[in-house]
């Protein structure tokens, strides 16, 4: 990767493009975008190998993988796989494919990794509790004017801003 990475596109242009993608998703398929649902099903797929009896006893998991239901047999899995592929394509085009760790200047790589892992746990847990992540609830639900999605969106920003000050050492 000797060539310099292309700059990110203007946020409003990116937003407009994302808006058009979101609109087309609704227009063509009737559902919005999402990410955590696909990861959820991927996880349940793995769990089903390790402990299938357990799946059959937990109602929440049963819905996705009970009996001979294949948890990967869902559109959201394909959407999630596509999101990953899209990232690869855009990363290649923008010459931004690089093994690296983005972090604040004052913390070590290892600290950043631990924080990313912990943040991921909270994100995953919260996303299932809220029945959707930033893509599925805030973005998709926001665009179709769902009351719950707007309340959710404000809660996400509130939670992040409330804690941002105390974590400034990690990012600045």
């Amino acid at each position: 990767m000797s060539e310099r990475a292309r700059p990110y596109i203007n946020p409003y242009l990116a937003g407009a493009l994302l808006g058009i993608v979101l609109f087309l998703a609704f227009f063509i398929t009737g559902t919005g975008l999402g990410a955590s649902g696909g990861l959820n099903r991927l996880l349940v797929y793995g769990q089903n190998f390790v402990a299938p009896e357990h799946i059959d006893q937990v109602p929440y998991l049963l819905k996705m993988a009970g009996g001979n239901t294949n948890p990967l047999d869902s559109w959201i899995v394909y959407l999630t796989a596509g999101t990953f592929l899209g990232g690869v394509i855009s990363g290649l085009y923008g010459r931004r494919m690089r093994v690296e760790t983005n972090k604040g200047p004052r913390i070590s790589h290892r600290t950043r990794w631990i924080m990313a892992f912990l943040g991921g746990i909270l994100m995953g847990y919260g996303a299932r509790l809220a029945r959707g992540c930033t893509s599925g609830q805030a973005l998709s639900g926001g665009a179709v004017l769902s009351v719950g999605s707007w309340a959710f969106m404000f809660a996400v920003f509130a939670g992040a801003y409330a804690l941002a000050y105390f974590l400034r050492r990690f990012w600045n």
């Binding site: 609704f26 227009f27 909270l122 995953g124 926001g142 309340a151």
Partner: protein, 409 residues
């Protein structure tokens, strides 16, 4: 008839539909990545007011998508009733959102952005995705401890225009205007806090903002289609079904449906309440014509194997009810042929049918006289099905087009 959203599985088969979702995903991932969302530092900078890219991208996306959705709906191209609106579970959503906000500032990503971070080789993205999987796992293991809370404050498909009792167009225009003002503010904040990293405003910002506002005004002026408008869009096709009597099912077929364990039958009795009290079919719900449009939202949530049957004394009101429900895009709606009168004629005992027959009645009025309001306790209310009953079967289960799960299903 509104064409969109497309019944993808019907058109392309299951894997064809999955391929479309894959393409949508690719477009989604590529846009996220090119906006800079694969970089956790850029994402976190949002919360230190240095770089408000997250806010700008998200809200631009929301207002663009929202305006296009309600514009195409106003033009009769897109059926809003068939679109997945995440149902509101208010408090689980807010608590989950707060937890996610904390996760966002701690971890630097949200699930979607961590995927593209991982895709472009970001190690912190990989750790984040692993964390998300652990978090989801923990949720699956603990949700039964607080199942009551998880299912609480359920408000169904509940939208901002319903909350504020204003039209969709009003909310669309208001959201667009508020977002544009916030963008203007965001530029000021970035210039003040971000210093040299702040970019200058894009050249075409004003015309673009103007164009979007104009579209939002168009949404407001056009208005969303009413039930009558929606019927007009499908009148030709659906009216033909009525005339060819493709949707009027005989009493024997209805009785068969009620006793078919693979089918959920929802019977909607749209007669006056007094008539319903005198006699109705066992398990039939009373519904007034006025309330049907509002009811249709709930009926839409019934499982895919549900058959709806409307009934009145004869067929007149039942047909009106059928039109209202079909206009709201409810699938698998039928009319009881001959109405409740026809039902009693089929299943009432000989003496009753002969002695209680009312001569000279007006249309869509009861044809049999009841002395007492016995509701569903009359023997004809719950007849025993017998296999030899002959009828022309008309019910064909239509694949449900309204999505049953949304973005994070």
């Amino acid at each position: 008839m509104t064409i969109f959203p497309l019944p993808l599985t019907e058109l392309l088969g299951q894997y064809g539909a999955y391929f479309v979702y894959l393409l949508v995903g690719i477009a989604f991932g590529a846009t996220l990545e090119s906006a800079g969302f694969g970089n956790s530092k850029k994402l976190a900078a949002q919360f230190y007011f240095k770089d408000l890219t997250v806010f700008k991208v998200m809200f631009t996306a929301i207002i663009v998508a929202m305006t296009l959705i309600f514009l195409t709906s106003a033009l009769g191209l897109l059926d809003y009733n068939l679109i997945w609106v995440p149902p509101t579970y208010l408090w689980p959503g807010i608590v989950g959102g707060l937890i996610m906000g904390v996760g966002f500032i701690v971890g630097g990503f949200c699930p979607g952005t961590s995927l593209v971070a991982m895709a472009t080789g970001k190690v912190d993205g990989v750790f984040f995705v692993l964390g998300v999987l652990v978090g989801i796992f923990l949720f699956g293991e603990t949700v039964s401890q607080f199942a009551v809370f998880f299912e609480s404050s359920f408000m169904g498909r509940f939208t901002l225009p319903e909350l504020f009792s204003v039209s969709y167009g009003t909310v669309v225009l208001a959201v667009v205007v508020i977002a544009l003002m916030l963008f203007w503010g965001a530029e000021k904040v970035e210039a003040a806090v971000g210093g040299e990293t702040a970019r200058k405003a894009p050249r075409r910002a004003l015309p673009a903002a103007g164009a979007l506002t104009a579209l939002a005004v168009a949404v407001l002026v056009l208005g969303q289609p009413s039930n009558a408008d929606r019927w007009d869009m499908i009148a030709e096709e659906q009216g033909a079904l009525l005339e060819q009597r493709m949707v009027q099912i005989e009493p024997a077929e209805l009785l068969g449906l009620v006793h078919d364990s693979r089918i959920k039958t929802v019977m909607l009795d749209v007669r006056e309440e007094a008539h319903y009290n005198l006699f109705h079919i066992h398990d039939a719900r009373h519904a007034s014509l006025r309330d049907l449009e509002a009811m249709s939202e709930k009926l839409m949530q019934e499982p895919g194997n549900t058959v709806f049957v409307t009934m009145s004394n004869d067929e007149q009101r039942a047909t009106e009810a059928w039109k209202v429900l079909r206009a709201e895009s409810l699938p698998n709606v039928y009319i009881l042929e001959g109405g409740v009168n026809g039902w009693i004629r089929s299943f009432g005992d000989e003496h009753f049918v002969r002695d209680r027959y009312v001569m000279n009645r007006s249309a869509d009025e009861p044809a049999f006289r009841f002395d007492l309001a016995i509701g569903a306790r009359h023997p004809a209310s719950e007849p025993v099905p017998h296999d030899e009953a002959e009828f022309t079967p008309k019910v064909k289960l239509e694949l449900k087009r309204a999505p049953t799960g949304g973005g994070c299903g």
